[in-house]
Structures are given as C-alpha cells and as structure tokens.
C-alpha cells in the first residue's frame, strides 16, 4: 500500500525545498546550493507522487529505496524529509553547523528516511544495484531510485554497476541523472565530455528516457511508467539547470560552492517566493 501523508502539490513542495535549502546553506555557510536547486523538482515529484515510503515507519521493509548518490546536495534531501515528516523541521536550522547530525554530504545516522550515506561520488549506484539484486533474489517488489550527478559519471565505479545491473536485468533499478551540465570547476563539456550520454547508457543495455528535469508532468510521467522496458534498468537523464530558481545562480560555477549572504540572500528569497 502507498503511504502518502503529504501534499501532492509538487510545485509547492519544490518551492519549499528551495527555500529551505537557501536558508540552510546561508545560515550554516554550506555549499552546493546550486546542485540542490537543480534536483529540487525531481525530489518533489519523487516524494510527492512516486516513492512508496512511510514517515511513521521509515524502515518498513517493502518501502521503495531512495539513494542520493550525489551526496553533496544533501540540504535538499533533508528539506524534503522534513516536509514529509521524516525529521523535525527544527533540525534543518542546524544543518552544517557545529554538533549537527545533518552533514554537508548526506548521512543516515540519526536521520530517518536516509537509506545510505554518501559524499564520495560513485558509491550510490553500486549500493542501489545490490539492493535491487537482493530484491529480485527475494521476490520483493520494491524499487530502487538513485539520483546521480553528471560530474559523478566521471567515476569508473558507476560503469561497473551499470554493466552489472543490465547483465542481471534489474528493471527494479532507476538511475536519475541530474544533468545540470556543470561540475566543480567548469562545465561538463569542458571537463570530461559525457556526450553522447544517452547512447552510452543504451550501449550498456539500459532503457533510457530523456526529460526536462524541471517539468513536473514530464518527471511524473517518466517515473510513473516504470520500468521503461521490462528486463532492463532505467536511466532517466533529466536535463536541468544548475541553480534553477534564482536567476543569478543559474548556470554559474560560482554557486557550486558559494552561499548567499546579505543582499544576495534577500534577492534569492524574493525570487524563490515568486515561484
């Protein structure tokens, strides 16, 4: 049975996620705001409409598993977990600060709803592949969703998992790539080009769907019709804008690490409130 105790107004949820992220990173001096913004719509649709999870019983065995492999955008995950009742809103105020359990890269210890701690890139898909394989072996019906970053696809370990998942026909596994086209120092195309990206996944035996990662209907449609192809794992390549929602943060390498202060914060909040 589905356990949806929260709003299915995913636009509103995405807006709240972004505002929380702005507040959390500004208050704690945390980075990666732009990486959280680029995936906010995907998270909102996942938690608002797709994931079979239960904040009252977060370790419910039949729950869908969600893994944030791009652990640096933890702020948005903590925000959506607070919005959905997994963790207390008050915890968000402590993100990234002295003594907090909400780390800059997502950690499961003491944080209900976080399956796996990540932060070093190239780990989440492998762990998710193991979960999906175990589910198949035990005839369990849950699905495994992994959000990855584009820069993360530089890590060779991912391609080990991509090979394995296709070979073992893990159609209960869904990789969603937040393809915001920027990594730490420069654009993806200037760093290590991924194109033709969809073709790479296809060549490895995955079913691939490319969507606009900010279009809630497109996200919802893609995630509602899984698996994309029976017998194949699904890759959703979500074309996104890094920093989406605040004009001066969009498509800028600067906001990979910078946090908003003073007038920047006021301007950012104003834009987010109008979303």
């Amino acid at each position: 049975m589905a356990h949806s105790l929260w709003t299915d107004n995913t636009k509103e949820l995405a807006k709240r996620i972004r505002i929380h992220v702005l507040n959390m990173t500004s208050k704690g001096g945390g980075s990666h705001i732009a990486s959280s913004f680029s995936q906010a719509d995907i998270l909102a649709v996942l938690y608002g409409k797709i994931l079979n999870v239960d904040p009252v019983n977060p370790s419910w065995p039949e729950r869908d598993r969600f893994i944030l492999s791009k652990g640096h955008s933890s702020a948005s995950v903590y925000a959506v977990l607070a919005e959905c009742g997994f963790i207390d809103h008050k915890l968000l105020d402590q993100h990234y600060q002295d003594g907090s359990i909400l780390s800059g890269h997502v950690s499961h210890k003491g944080v209900a709803g976080v399956e796996i701690s990540t932060g070093s890139l190239g780990h989440g898909l492998g762990v998710g592949t193991g979960m999906a394989k175990a589910a198949k072996m035990d005839n369990q019906k849950f699905r495994v969703f992994v959000i990855m970053s584009d820069g993360e696809c530089d890590e060779g370990s991912n391609w080990e998992a991509i090979l394995f998942a296709a070979h073992h026909k893990l159609d209960n596994l869904v990789a969603i790539v937040d393809y915001n086209k920027f990594q730490s120092l420069a654009s993806v195309s200037e760093t290590l080009a991924l194109e033709p990206f969809a073709d790479k996944w296809k060549a490895f035996g995955w079913a691939v769907k490319e969507i606009d990662g900010h279009d809630h209907d497109a996200i919802s449609n893609a995630l509602s019709a899984l698996p994309e192809t029976a017998g194949r794992p699904t890759a959703i390549i979500a074309h996104t804008t890094k920093g989406k929602g605040v004009s001066f943060m969009e498509n800028s390498v600067l906001w990979h690490y910078r946090f908003a202060r003073g007038a920047e914060y006021d301007a950012a909040l104003k834009e987010l409130e109008q979303l």
Binding site: I116, T129, G130, M131, K133, A134
Partner: protein, 309 residues
C-alpha cells in the same frame, strides 16, 4: 586455508539462505562444489571490486550475509573507500575474504603481494580484522565472521600449518590462543607464518630457549590481556608476513606502550617497508626477507644474546 574456508562456507550456506558469496571473477575450480550446491547464493561480479563491495553493502542491508572474495589487494585496497564508506559506516554484514595474504602469490609480482593490508584496514573503525594462523583457524573463523555483527575482513594465505585445537576448543574473535608455554621469549603471531614460528620455536627449544607462542588471529579488536601476559616473558617478538609499518607488531607495541609496559626486549619481525621486485615462491621470499624459521631463530637468539649450537 582457502579450501577450508570454502568447505565451511558451503556447509553454512546450505543451512542459511541469507549467506551469499560474491567473487570478483576469481576462484577457478575452487567454487565448483559451492556453485553446484548453492547456485542461488553465488554471484560473479566480474572484475569490478568497487561495485562488488558497494553491492555487497546494498545486499547486506536487505538482510543478507555477504562474502566478497578475491585475491590479495583486490577486495581490499582496490575498493578501500567502498569498505570504509559503504560497508563499515553502515555496519553492513559484509565479510571480505582475501586469499593470497603476504607472499602467497610471490611469483606473480608486487601487484599480488598483499603486504600492507592489515596496517591499512586495522585503521578503519567498525571493521573486524582477522588473519587465521592455520587451517583449523581458517575454517572456524569462516563461521565466526559469518555471524559476527558488522563488517569483517579475513586474510587467508597459502600456508598449510595447523595449530591443532585442544579438545572442545572454540575459536573466538578477539581472543588470542596460547599455543605454547615458555618464559624466555613470547612470540605473537598472525597469519600462516605461524608455521615458520613453530619450527623456529622448536629450534630455539633445542638450544634451551623456551618460547611461548600466541596466535593473535584477531588484529582488530586486539586481545590486550593476552599481549600483557606475553610481555611477562623476557622478550616479546611479533611475526607477520606483512610490513612492520603499522601491522601486528605496531599494534602490539602501541598496546604495551599505552599500558605502560616496557618489555626488556622487543622485536618486530616482518617486512621492512619496501616493494619486492624480486619474485619467487612464498617459501623463497620468506627466506629472502628474513621470515623463514631459520632466520627467525637467528634473530631471536641474537636478541637474547644467546649463541646457537
């Protein structure tokens, strides 16, 4: 050791369907019986140790007891961060098995010399590190790690030594075995190099030097009481087929210093920090690097200022 491991694992897997074995494409012939009897509990992950270890974590978190298997440094150093961040931090029931400890695959070259693994892995929190000293220990340890909560690393090598257990003896993780009494010297040993130490102790005994031998098969957590007891003799000698930088000898030295115990004589026998571009059998390389029974005997007699006949 490897055959004793797989024999016991097969017995356990037949009884306990939670047990899974994942290999990194190694173990030709070795797994034939296991695969025949437990086909649904065997996965070949391919030559992909990072993914093997991450996947093992994911499976373990779904209730499986997952053994990962490969040679030497492949299931350990190659995927060290997967062991640390994935398996250990999540307290996952992942049991890492490396065959080919020390110079087991000496002729294959330095890629296959597993000579720093204990030092590196014992630094990880929430990882149990064991290095059985003989065939019986390897087999018993297989069951012990299977049901020991959390992530474990078991180092096996190609030795055939066997410290026969006392009747009814049980192997316990974290509890050293005292194999021999003697007040002139206490050997503290991990791994199959025990077979050389036992011969050395015999040679020393023939010269009137009585040695105690402790099998310290568990490096993390350490049996501190056994180490304190060993230090009551005239000399403490650690022996490992591993670098002396950070391994068993270092762990024993730290333990004694922390407790304010200063043995009158202390010697770490192992490999000096170097790569061996020279290849050869395990037997040959032990001799060349001072780990053979005769070399151990000579170093201990020198330590004790006793000449040998």
């Amino acid at each position: 050791m490897r055959d004793h491991f797989i024999k016991r694992l097969c017995e356990l897997a037949l009884k306990d369907k939670r047990i899974l074995l994942i290999t990194g494409d190694l173990g030709f012939v070795v797994f034939d019986r296991y695969r025949q009897e437990c086909p649904d509990q065997f996965i070949n992950a391919g030559v992909a140790e990072q993914n093997m270890t991450s996947m093992a974590t994911g499976m373990a978190l779904q209730g499986k007891i997952v053994f990962t298997y490969s040679i030497g440094n492949f299931p350990t150093l190659r995927c060290l961060e997967q062991i640390r961040n994935d398996a250990c931090y999540h307290g996952a029931n992942v049991k890492i098995i490396a065959v080919g400890g020390g110079f087991s695959y000496g002729s294959l070259g330095i890629s296959h010399h597993a000579t720093e693994d204990i030092a590196i892995l014992r630094a990880l929190p929430d990882l149990t590190v064991v290095s059985p000293c003989g065939l019986w220990e390897a087999e018993e340890m297989t069951e012990a790690v299977a049901y020991h909560p959390g992530t474990c690393y078991m180092r096996l090598d190609k030795s055939f030594g066997n410290a026969i257990p006392a009747p009814g003896e049980k192997l316990k993780i974290g509890k050293a075995r005292k194999l021999r009494d003697g007040n002139d010297c206490s050997f503290i040993v991990c791994g199959g190099i025990l077979e050389e130490v036992e011969k050395a102790a015999d040679m020393l005994n023939a010269n009137g030097i009585k040695s105690a031998i402790y099998s310290l098969h568990t490096i993390s957590p350490l049996d501190k009481e056994a180490i304190y007891e060993a230090a009551l003799s005239s000399a403490v000698v650690t022996v490992e087929e591993h670098t002396i930088s950070g391994g068993l000898g270092s762990a024993v030295a730290e333990t004694l210093m922390d407790a304010g115990i200063h043995p009158s004589r202390f010697l770490r026998i192992g490999l000096n920090a170097c790569f061996s571009s020279i290849v050869g059998s395990q037997h040959y390389l032990r001799e060349r690097y001072g780990l053979s029974a005769s070399k151990i005997t000579a170093r201990v007699s020198e330590l004790l200022n006793r000449s040998l006949q």
